[in-house]
């Protein structure tokens, strides 16, 4: 458990992908079976036990701490597991800290619902702060240490001379603690027999388009364009193993998210792999990203959620079909097969992402700035830009140069005034990082949105200082900030679109608002008025 805690701890702080990979390789090399296999399962999210719920953890710490001190600590730390790990009454020195990861995982898998709290408390007593944190992350199933399944497999491959794609081939047929897999990679045994009929294929990614440079060098006739949809990129893979059809949905980083989208599974009636965008589509209308978000980061979905937020795939590409790897083919050849497949499937949950016809770059630019001229309103609202793909390019994993480009829409900008602030969670905890901002309605400021990112860490500290020095009221965790015409903080806010909303006093809701600049040079009196937002709304609707 100690080595696993140290690994998670280092991974949590290391930002370089290479160093993370090195840490994983180091851990897999030094750690014996079966601990390392369970660690691999924990990191890739394939561990099989009933995760401990936050309520259970809160009850445990509640028996051991003052509720006010706990609340203040949690507010500062911003993470439940970490708060408990740090506040847990310090262990007696003679405590046995030689706890094995395998022992924890196996005991938890066997434990009944009523046994789990006692077990977890015993382990917490035996560990130090880092160990407790790692244990709580493990038992709640939320590691979040920045390691994708793909990175873990890349590190595994480095233990021997097995190519990482061969690990993908067998990955889903194996289970924790992966004894067979380690034995094969380390050359102590042959390749596991069974191949995964629906493996993950690492996706091809785009470079951001540099308007100043790229258009001079690229010929419009070499490219096709597609809409860039505001969902999440997924890969739907299906394949036959004898009589059984295996169907899986992968995230962009190769994490298996099938269990969270059972409603989609039925419709994956093909042998191959579709690259597409996962969207919430209700009555034929694409819903805002915030709706999709309600289904992400959930391990499962119940009937109610599925009915409220039905998902669909908008297909971009076809990577394999009927046992044939299509990736070496050109985009246009793959597209032809994709169109045929989507037609054949006749699924309401899988449709084609349409191509954008354009004659030259200015033509594409006008489609990009006004998607509503080409699409129905709901679809137009879900477009966050356009994608350029070289018609002759094969599908290459990673981010090859000069093949795919993403060209996002320019955001809208307004100058707004900071009105209220609240402490953030996670990375921004302990700083006032959630801002409610407003614009003028007559002589009064009305809130028009909330933003909690877009600023740098340095700017965050300046804003935080401003808030602390200019607090004029406190409502629980919320601070009201001074905002007179000549005294206050003006934020330039960027956003992607506007909608009518009855939830806000202003009647408006912004899509994806973020702070783009701090305007220390402006006084609140110079900020925008509600009329400019109204004008924007009618312009985008037209």
């Amino acid at each position: 458990m100690k080595a696993f805690a140290r690994l998670l701890d280092s991974l949590a702080f290391e930002t370089s992908r290479n160093a993370r990979e090195a840490l994983l390789v180091d851990y897999f090399t030094r750690t014996p079976d079966p601990d390392r296999g369970y660690a691999l399962a924990a990191i890739t999210g394939t561990l099989d036990f009933r995760a401990a719920k936050p309520a259970l953890l809160k009850a445990l710490i509640g028996e051991r701490s003052d509720p006010v001190l706990f609340a203040l600590s949690y507010d500062f730390v911003g993470d439940l597991s970490e708060t408990i790990a740090l506040m847990w009454p310090a262990p007696p020195r003679e405590a046995d800290a030689d706890l094995r990861l395998a022992a924890v995982v196996e005991a938890l898998a066997r434990a009944s619902r009523s046994d789990a709290p006692r077990l977890i408390a015993e382990w917490l007593d035996a560990l130090d702060e880092t160990g407790r944190w790692a244990l709580l992350k493990l038992v709640t199933g939320g590691l979040r240490v920045g390691v994708s399944a793909r990175l873990a497999k890349t590190a595994l491959a480095r233990l021997g001379s097995v190519p990482v794609d061969e690990i993908e081939d067998v990955w889903n047929t194996l289970k924790a603690p992966y004894l067979q897999l380690f034995a094969w990679i380390e050359g102590r045994a042959g390749k596991p027999e069974s191949r995964d009929p629906a493996p993950f294929r690492p996706p091809m990614l785009a470079h951001p388009l540099d308007e100043a440079k790229d258009f001079d060098q690229l010929a419009a006739s070499d490219f096709v364009a597609e809409w860039k949809w505001d969902g999440i990129r997924v890969q739907a893979a299906a394949g036959r193993d004898g009589e059984t059809l295996h169907r899986r949905l992968y995230s962009r980083s190769g994490d298996d998210i099938t269990a969270a989208f059972p409603d989609l599974l039925e419709d994956l009636r093909f042998d191959g792999a579709i690259d597409g965008e996962l969207l919430v589509v209700r009555d034929g209308e694409v819903q805002p990203f915030s709706e999709l978000q309600r289904r992400l980061n959930r391990k499962t979905a119940d009937a109610k959620l599925i009915q409220a937020l039905p998902v669909a795939i908008r297909a971009y590409d076809l990577l394999a079909e009927d046992g044939l790897d299509l990736r070496p083919l050109s985009f246009l050849q793959r597209r032809e097969r994709l169109e045929a497949l989507v037609r054949r499937l006749q699924s309401p949950r899988i449709d084609l992402s349409p191509l954008i016809t354009f004659a030259d770059w200015p033509g594409l630019a006008s489609a990009r700035s006004e998607p509503s001229s080409r699409l129905q309103p709901a679809d137009a609202a879900a477009v966050e830009g356009v994608m350029l793909k070289r018609a002759a390019a094969p599908y290459v994993a990673g981010r090859p140069k000069g093949e795919w480009f993403k060209w996002k829409r320019d955001p809208f900008l307004i100058d707004a005034v900071l009105m209220y602030a609240q402490r953030g969670h996670g990375k921004r905890s302990s700083y006032y990082s959630d801002y409610t901002f407003g614009v003028w309605l007559g002589a009064e400021l009305v809130p028009v949105g909330k933003a909690y990112f877009g600023f740098t860490d340095e700017e965050l500290i300046l804003i935080d200082r401003f808030i602390r020095a200019n607090t004029v009221g406190r409502f629980g965790p919320v601070r009201e900030v001074a905002r007179l015409p000549d005294k206050g903080l003006v934020l330039e806010v960027a956003f992607e679109g506007l909608n009518r909303s009855s939830r806000h006093k202003s009647g408006l809701a912004m899509r994806f608002p973020r702070v783009s600049r701090l305007r220390w040079d402006k006084t609140p009196a110079e900020a925008d008025r509600i009329e400019s937002l109204e004008a924007l709304l009618s312009a985008t609707r037209a």
Binding site: A12, F13, S65, L72, F76, D79, A90, D457, E458
Partner: protein
């Protein structure tokens, strides 16, 4: 409520003796607890402090930092307009002191910043029983339990062993923390030359001149990639700036009590957070409050809400002072504004 102390816009004030303690604006008469820039400011009329504090203030603020100055050794008593005043070691940095005020059978202690952990570079905290105890609460939440420093130094040395080709760049405040780090590295048996950012040189030389054995140190100067494999100490604000770019693929370490909280460590860009603090942690804070026997606790800055709550649960009066201007020490030494908050 104390008859010895009151709060003015300039800071804590003893009306009978007409002197301020660590005032944030220029005043006629000031007692300074220690030389960190948020407590020791330039421009006062007369300044009373330990000799070390006065020396370091002169080094950092220039010789003309005050109209006049008077050095007072720990434990030596002064009578000022009927107030008995003396200084006791605070264990925070070299020269740091608690200010003890007595009159009419009542005693108040203004502790400044302090810690109870051992520190080879300064005199250990001395407990003074009192009626009113004025304390900081920088780490005034139960999540802050500073581990023994030896273990943190061991983690730094282990990282150096794991990445022998990379410079270990350690962000540590230029007064106190940097020198303590040097002393503890030596205690752990690290004998190689440690390289220092220019902002650390003066104070480090002063510490060594006071008889502190900090081992071989050299300025980084124009070097960069040549220092692969070495330990370099710089102000925290320089870890992410242009200055740090001279090193090839450094391991960025930050030595601070805030490193206990992951979000804070990530905000500071620490790949190797070292939990090393010159302030009391929560258990020591509570222990100190109890051991002083004080019935009234005044909390200057930090997480005052939690400490005041706790004080009330153990039957003490607690008063948050909400003092602004403290907790931003050591913003001085970096070219860009140091983005750190307290410590």
């Amino acid at each position: 409520m104390s008859s010895l102390l009151t709060l003015t816009p300039e800071g804590l004030y003893c009306p009978a003796a007409a002197l301020h303690i660590d005032p944030v604006r220029p005043v006629p008469r000031a007692v300074i607890t220690h030389a960190h820039s948020d407590h020791a400011r330039a421009g006062h009329g007369a300044v009373l402090a330990t000799r070390e504090t006065l020396d370091i203030m002169a080094l950092r603020l220039g010789d003309a930092f005050a109209g006049s100055r008077q050095a007072l050794a720990y434990g030596t008593t002064l009578m000022i307009d009927g107030i008995r005043l003396w200084l006791a070691p605070a264990g925070h940095v070299l020269g740091s002191a608690q200010v003890v005020l007595e009159a009419g059978g009542e005693r108040a202690v203004v502790s400044g910043d302090y810690k109870r952990q051992a520190d080879p570079t300064c005199a250990p905290f001395e407990l003074v029983q009192c009626d009113t105890f004025v304390t900081e609460a920088t780490f005034g939440l139960p999540v802050f339990r500073h581990p023994p420093i030896a273990g943190e130094i061991a983690r730094l040395l282990a990282s150096r062993a794991l990445f022998p080709g990379r410079t270990h760049l350690v962000g540590a405040y230029s007064l106190g923390k940097a020198q303590r780090l040097l002393a503890e590295l030596r205690a752990a048996g690290y004998e190689r030359t440690v390289y220092l950012h220019g902002a650390l040189e003066k104070v480090t030389a002063y510490y060594m001149g006071q008889g502190q054995a900090l081992g071989p140190v050299e300025p980084v100067g124009g070097r960069g990639k040549e220092l692969a494999g070495e330990i370099v100490i710089c102000p925290p604000g320089d870890l992410a700036g242009r200055w740090a770019r001279r090193f090839a693929d450094p391991v960025t370490a930050v030595a601070s009590g805030w490193m206990r909280v992951r979000a804070r460590a990530r905000q500071r860009g620490a790949a190797l957070p070292l939990i090393i603090s010159d302030h009391v942690d929560w258990p020591d804070l509570c222990r100190t409050v109890e051991e002083t026997g004080a019935s009234d606790i005044w909390v200057t800055h930090g997480a005052e809400e939690a400490l005041c709550h706790w004080c009330k649960t153990v039957g003490r009066n607690a008063r948050p002072l909400h003092m602004i201007g403290y907790g931003e020490e050591e913003a001085d030494s970096s070219p860009a504004p140091d983005t750190a908050s307290a410590e």
